[in-house]
Amino acid sequence: MIIVVSLLIILMLISAIAALIFKDLISAVIAACMVSLIASILFYFLHAPDVAMAEASIGAALVTVIFIIAIRRTKRHEE
Amino acid sequence: MELFGMIITGIGTIFLLIGNLGILRLPDVYNRIQAGTKCTTLGAFLTIIGVGIIQPAWFWKCLLIALFVLVTNPISSHAIARGSHKSGVPMCDRSVVDKSKEFEEYKATKATIKIVAFKEKK
């Protein structure tokens, strides 16, 4: 059990660092969506399905749409 | 009944693994979309229905989840494919035909023919 949880945390850390490194901001938004997805699986493993449901709805849909609208008003590529 | 559901879940698992392997191995965006939506839709459908068959009290909710997957996954894949073709992502070297571009050119020529005929009628 603890091996699976630590492996998920390592994947989440790699994805968060990738969201920092990417120069294309759309790719960074996709990596942030991936962080939220792995957090949702982690809450599911720790027997908290209601928190997992809230994390999935907020992280996958709401934050992605708000960031995309914000990027559309500004520039796409970071210098 | 339990053995039957187990076999269906196993087939779905194999389909899911092959779809994800195709995402990693294929050379192009459009090939990856083709691997990632066909294999994955069939695999998820078979897996969820298999769990519903193993435990018959859960069957209707599993059928509802499978129908949601069957409706939403092709729509999002089609939207991503159309968006990446419009934004000009290049194809790989070995691809031979581009039907969407041919259709755009055909529609443009048809529109010019219509405009010319309209002006002549005037």
Partner: protein
């Protein structure tokens, strides 16, 4: 007995998620990453149903139901941005 076999199937699906995660890391354009996240979403829906069977809770299927509907909204918004204009 059946829980052990379902747990082995979940391990195979988790290996598939890792393969697709690699494509999300090293894809050349943004469209590759969007396709990889689309595939990961559908795979995770199947994985959560299998784990709900292993844990023997009927309520855990709701997470999968919510996730399959709401990830669709984010991906369609992303595709509309790629098509120039939302």
């Amino acid at each position: 007995m059946s829980e052990t076999i379902i747990l082995i199937f979940s391990a195979i699906i988790a290996l598939g998620i890792f393969l697709s995660f690699l494509r999300m890391l090293l894809g050349p354009t943004a469209s590759d990453r969007a396709v990889a996240v689309d595939t990961i979403t559908t795979t995770v829906v199947a994985l959560l149903v299998l784990l709900g069977f292993v844990f023997k809770r009927y309520v855990y299927l709701d997470v999968s139901l919510v996730y399959s509907v709401l990830a669709f909204v984010g991906l369609v918004a992303l595709a509309r941005f790629l098509e120039k204009g939302i």
